[in-house]
């Protein structure tokens, strides 16, 4: 058994920031991560980090842009906290030596980004995330924070009270990928989940292979509700063959989208007459797919993104990495030719429900970064808002877990925050098929920390043992591929009721097949077969939550387009879709969106770009 005050699960941007904050507060903190921190997917972020730094800009404007970008599905206390704290966090990175791009006067450069009323996106070339991740890891090394790298966390050690809001988290169960050793990690202060995205639920994604939604799935099964899961962002410019991202920075610098007629599609067909290529991501993604569906796509699949007119010097100065990506992964020279692009899964706006201190309804369990939903991105995240989010809320989760008093939270969490129940008409009953490996079996008997940990360690040992022991069955890769396929077919940019139902049925089949899954590799040494098998279970759970949310939300808001419901229905739908696992019988309910900020109320308006 390992013991620390605060445990941070995940070594990406959110995890590193949380760990530094907890350390600052005097806690003995450790990071447990399945990848070495510098391998985390934060390193892939390209475009930039938003913060109101300059005269003429203000946090209030940043907050307003964010609320509008969210299509009024964001919670004001989260958005205001975010916009106020982002500048300090960004300058802190600068003080930690992050190699930002610079202006002639030596200050940090900023550029325009989609949906922003001011060019407030700070950046370091087109590899901002790489520099942010490495700069923060350097600070972790400097402070001597313990890192358990290549340890896979597979279970949370949570008490088994009936009501999730009475539960407490005492630590996690993880196993050492190198040796297969399964161990308990006890945390007296708190556990912070910072496990990143869930793009692997789809087959065309900008996300890394490790982004399998482990955090949301584990905590969801342990009783934390997931929020607005249907809100998946599809990025308009990914390379068709791999899903590798071409940064929004290209459009920010003046890149142009063309269809196969050579028309500047955003203006030609009136998708965004003012902002053109810089309209928000959902708008541009739909525009591109509409072009393809109407026969104006190139090779019936994609459109062109052209940056040649920006000139070699500017491209090399600000977008050099894009040239490498286009060349290495698509064989296209961006200086000579336009780049092929199409929409791809990119970001999960939804996630684990947390308040603005990062805490979930389970005492001592926090979440930050992409796996969490403090509800600041609502129905659509603005480019450049995820990195400052993980800084601001990663830090707050770290401080709070280490006991800093952040005052009363305004965002309510847990099933008791519900405003109404919903019954959606689902073709199959979602949730567990075999409750055998339940993460919490609620009977209220497990309370003592060490007892709780022991219980969960034993349960995990049994699960791993049985996966390894089984001689034959289904390979997880088949199940995973089926899930990815149905999600991409049916729960993509354009959503129809019949498709969503089909996806739920396919996911049910995947669940059934998963019961038969086995691990062929018998080794305890670096068994990736085992890891991928466990991850696949998580992918099924998050995929189902996404689809259920999409079926429930009968309106068109932000990234969530529904064929049968082509309007934003403010009267009915300014509310969050919540899903609570409820021991394998998911409960769907709603909770109101908070539009009242500190000094003003954000009035929903039609978004036009």
């Amino acid at each position: 058994m390992y013991e620390h005050d605060v445990l941070v699960i995940g070594g990406g941007g959110a995890g590193l920031r949380a760990a530094i904050a907890a350390h600052e507060e005097g806690a003995d903190v450790a990071i447990v991560t399945k990848l070495h921190p510098v391998r985390s997917h934060t390193g892939a972020a390209e475009g930039g980090i938003n913060a109101a730094l300059r005269d003429g800009d203000s946090w209030e404007d940043h907050a307003y842009d964010t609320m509008k970008g969210s299509d009024f599905l964001g919670d004001a206390p989260a958005i205001e906290t975010f916009a106020k704290n982002a500048p300090e966090e960004v300058i802190q990175l600068e003080h930690w030596g992050m190699p930002f791009s610079r202006e002639d006067d030596g200050r940090v450069s900023q550029r325009p980004f989609g949906g922003l009323s001011f060019p407030r996106t700070t950046y370091a070339g087109a590899e901002t995330g790489h520099h942010l991740l490495h700069t923060m890891y350097e600070q972790v090394v400097k402070r001597g924070i313990t890192v358990y790298d290549e340890w896979y966390v597979s279970r949370l050690a949570v008490t088994d009270h009936d009501d999730p809001e009475d539960r407490e988290c005492h630590g996690v169960v993880a196993y050492d990928i190198k040796t297969g050793e399964i161990a308990g990690f006890q945390a007296s202060g708190g556990v912070i989940l910072a496990t990143g995205g869930l793009g692997q639920a789809f087959d065309h994604t900008t996300n890394a292979v490790a982004n399998t939604g482990d955090g949301p799935a584990m905590a969801y099964r342990a009783g934390v509700p997931v929020e607005d899961m249907e809100m998946i962002q599809f990025h308009p410019t990914t390379l068709p063959s791999t899903g590798v991202l071409i940064s929004e920075g290209v459009r920010g610098e003046g890149g142009i989208l063309y269809n196969d007629q050579g028309e500047r599609l955003m203006f030609e067909y009136g998708y965004a007459n003012n902002e053109g290529e810089l309209a928000s991501r959902d708008v541009v993604a739909r525009a591109e797919l509409t072009e393809v569906n109407e026969g104006r796509g190139i090779e019936d699949e994609y459109v062109h993104l052209d940056m040649r007119h920006l000139g070699e010097e500017r491209i090399l100065d600000r977008l050099e990495n894009i040239l490498h990506l286009a060349e290495d992964f698509e064989g296209v020279d961006g200086l000579e030719e336009p780049m092929p692009v199409k929409p791809g899964q990119h970001y999960a706006m939804g996630g684990l429900e947390v308040d603005e201190h990062g805490e979930t309804c389970i005492d001592g369990l926090y979440a930050a970064g992409e796996c969490a939903c403090v509800s600041m991105h609502g129905a659509n995240r603005l480019g450049g808002n995820a990195l400052p989010e993980l800084l601001v809320f990663g830090a707050r989760a770290g401080w709070h877990a280490a006991d800093r008093d952040l005052g009363e939270a305004q965002i309510g969490t847990g099933p008791s925050a519900k405003s109404e129940d919903e019954d959606v008409d689902t073709p199959v009953s979602p949730g567990a098929i075999d409750a055998g490996d339940e993460d919490v079996a609620a009977d209220g008997a497990l309370v003592e920390p060490t007892e709780v940990l022991d219980h969960h360690v034993t349960a995990e040992e049994q699960r791993v043992e049985s996966l390894l022991e089984k001689d034959e069955g289904v390979n997880h890769a088949e199940v995973r591929a089926d899930v990815q396929e149905t999600m991409t077919q049916n729960v993509n940019v354009f959503r129809e009721e019949s498709n969503l139902k089909e996806a739920l049925e396919d996911l049910r089949v995947a669940r059934e097949r998963y019961q038969d899954v086995y691990v062929r590799d018998p080794s305890r040494t670096f068994n990736t077969d085992l890891i991928h098998t466990i991850e696949t279970r998580n992918i099924i759970d998050v995929a189902e939550a996404i689809t259920l949310g999409a079926l429930a939300r009968e309106e068109f808001r932000g990234a969530h387009w529904r064929a049968e419901h082509q309007e934003r229905k403010d009267d009915e739908w300014i509310k969050h879709t919540m899903l609570a696992w409820n021991d394998g019988n998911p409960d769907l309910y709603y909770k109101p969106v908070i539009l009242e900020g500190e000094d003003k109320t954000y009035e929903p308006k039609e978004r036009s770009y």
Partner: protein
């Protein structure tokens, strides 16, 4: 077209008798399970998948597992993988793993040359699997592509090497920014010239893949040599004008040690393999010059 997908190159499978007791029994059982399953899957899937593919490539992959009978002696397995345009070495490995043998083990994550986890030894050269187009490998359709773990690093299993030593060297150069003084006020920036940022820009691109260290003859012979990546990291900070003179002095002291910059014999192998095109050898040379200048001061 051939449906035989794996072939064992060594005779190691039979040499398990030396083991005894429970664990040997268990590992034999596990090994049987592995082989049966692989046989079954291979036959079925190879038939359907490969018949449809127009072209296939042959990849020969290094295998080793210290724990599993038949795998504790290193060997190579050969996989025939359908070839498609734009396919990378990593794609071929993933295909082989997902369709033929799920125990095939390698690190990977971002598949876009930024996480640094899939540096491999492909056809005799250190490369990132995800960034290496099969079509760029010479004669890829007619000869075998050979994939091995990074040389000079201890193999944990199959293509996975132990990176601890590499990380230790990286951390030995005190890889963190340490400005003398910070500007007054939380929101005040430490100004940096564009030229200075340009100067350090390439050095900040390192993704810790370990390719350079693995290609370096000196590092292979001297375990204490800091190695190109760590020295490059030292360069990144020593050349950053926002750190003060004292800190720079301390940094030079570190890289001047016995196993520091002076070990480099300018063979350029690190520079040649670096997937991020960092001019490593140049950076090492520049630090040598700095260190000479630095020592002159005291004479």
């Amino acid at each position: 077209m051939s449906t035989e997908v794996t072939e064992k190159e060594t005779e190691a499978q039979t040499e398990t008798e030396a083991e005894s007791g429970e664990s040997a029994h268990q590992s034999r059982r596990m090994e049987q399970k592995r082989q049966q399953a692989s046989q079954r899957d291979l036959e079925e899937e190879a038939r359907t998948e490969i018949d449809e593919a127009e072209q296939t490539i042959e990849v020969k992959v290094f295998r080793f597992d210290p724990e599993v009978a038949g795998k504790e002696e290193p060997r190579f397995d050969t996989f025939h993988v359908p070839f498609f345009k734009g396919m990378t070495v990593l794609d071929a490995l993933i295909y082989a793993r997902d369709h033929y043998d799920s125990s095939l083990t390698f690190r990977h994550s971002c598949r876009q040359a930024i996480c640094g986890s899939d540096a491999l030894f492909v056809n005799g050269r250190q490369r990132l699997g995800c960034k290496t187009q099969i079509a760029d490998l010479e004669d890829h359709l007619n000869s075998t592509i050979r994939i091995e773990p990074l040389p000079h690093q201890e193999v944990v299993k199959d293509l996975v090497v132990d990176m601890e030593h590499f990380y230790d060297q990286m951390e030995a150069v005190e890889p963190f920014f340490d400005a003398d003084e910070l500007p007054d006020g939380d929101l005040e920036e430490q100004r940096q010239d564009r030229e200075n940022r340009e100067k350090i820009k390439m050095s900040t691109r390192c993704i810790w893949c370990g390719a350079c260290m693995s290609s370096c003859n000196i590092a292979a012979g001297d375990n204490e040599y800091l190695g190109p990546a760590a020295i490059n990291k030292a360069y990144r900070f020593a050349m950053d004008e926002r750190e003060g003179e004292d800190r720079k002095q301390q940094r030079l002291n570190i890289i001047e040690q016995e196993h520091g910059v002076w070990r480099c014999q300018t063979q350029f192998s690190c520079t040649e393999v670096c997937p991020k095109d960092i001019p490593l050898t140049e950076h090492i040379q520049e630090l040598k010059r700095e260190s000479v200048k630095n020592n002159l001061k005291f004479w």
